[in-house]
Amino acid sequence: MSQELSIEELEKRFQEKIDAEIKIEPNDWMPDDYRKTLIRQISQHAHSEIVGMLPEGNWITRAPSLRRKAVLLAKVQDEAGHGLYLYSAAETLGADREETIDDLHSGKAKYSSIFNYPTLSWADMGTIGWLVDGAAIMNQVPLCRCSYGPYARAMVRVCKEESFHQRQGFEIVTKLAQGTPEQKEMAQDSLNRWWWPSLMMFGPSDADSQHTAQSMKWKIKRNTNDDLRQQFVDITVPQAELIGLTIPDPDLKWNEERQSYDFGEINWDEFNQVIRGNGPCNKKRIEDRRNAKENGKWVREAALAHAEKRKMKKAV
């Protein structure tokens, strides 16, 4: 047996595996910090999927057509599924789902701050799909190659389902942009409100990001925040132009030399305030999740009690 291996040796072998692109599986030895970082990242990700259901869920009952209602329902349901896959992945690291969720409810755990913004019009359903799911996909595709097996596989499943989310959103926005003046205005107003928060989704600038370097070395992160943000801007700006909407950034312009867009400064004060709990909807989002859990308690208890009783009966 190999119990004698020193921590240094184990860490060395662990890093060699990662460098050789061999997936780490739940049973494998891993550094404590790797486990902790992953649990934090995966559960944050799971929370974002679940809290992310709320701003869009806000419009399901008001969707303007049968088709839109069904698509939105299916989309929000997908996000519930994503949350579930991710909680499952976190459970393989020993993170119990209920405890993980309690951390969200107590404010200990974070989630994507974009979901603390309100959905004020139908156009927001389009903009969220287009920008927020678009940004999420950009973050998530590299994670399909993450070094931790269960997370990578969960992300493959998520990305497969995610592909229609952005398209349905862009379709909604396009329809509005080509519609009546009221509709066009609705679309532009929505873009104005969501553009900057979407850019913030990629996280703090690389210079200020605490986790990036170690996470890149462990391959639980594959690109830096700023790289992904730039990629997002470069892809999205022409899409907005195509449908005749204006990106609300006076400093936005094409940089021929970089073959990329230069864009204005993000309001990091706002970003930090929203993360600290001062966004327009932070309290409401957590309250909704807490209520769901609290109101469902008697249901979960009943199901368990019934299962117990039945087991007893069978045993007799």
């Binding site: 057509s65 049968l66 839109r68 349901q77 139908w122 009221e182 368990l304």
Partner: protein
Amino acid sequence: MEEKKALFEYLLRLGDDSLILGQRLSEWCGHGPILEEDIAMTNIALDLIGQATNLFEYASSLGVDKRSADELAFVRYEKDYRNLLLVEQENTDFGYTLARQFLFDAFRKPFFEALSQSSDQQLAAIAEKSLKETKYHLQHSSEWMIRLGDGTDESHERIQQAVNQLWAYTEEIFEQDQIDQQLIQAGIAVDLSVIRASWTKQVQAVFSEAGIDLPQNTWQQKGGRQGKHTEHMGYLLAEMQFMQRAYPQMEW
């Protein structure tokens, strides 16, 4: 009445049942008692919205008037909706939602079984597809009725309470009028008096396993099929029709 007109009316009744219940269920999305159940309820809501879409599209295609499926779904006045009072009742809690669902599913399954034999090919096809979905719904709601009835004192109390309250809307399910009679004659519609026994059997079986008492002598509320709704309906429609009313005549 001209047969086409009767069929149109019949389709609205079926479509409204699915639409309004789907609308109610979709209110749960993001607020379910546990993630898995949230997903399950959304699936049922999706099935119901899908059924409503098929039924309204068929109704619209009959050419009785010029309204599209979406216009039928979203821009009628309250008095022109034909759904059962049962399906418009508020969610209240998971117990009410489940009891409402169960009482409806127990009707819908034998109903679609019979309707899939309709002489109207298109209606039969819609019924066949809906039947597959409804079997899942009924299994889901039956199992939950038993869990809640048998589970804890609290859950038993709550589900019995919900059944007692909703029982007043069960007679209406089997009401028939001239439109039913006419379409039954033509082999198109389902004779509700025939499937009633099957509903009763299912309800009794599940109640007995769940330890739920069958309510007795409940005064019955009716009127949904004639457009006389409960107070909840106006609020449901205000929400559902919001976009169509605030921005009339636009495409989305």
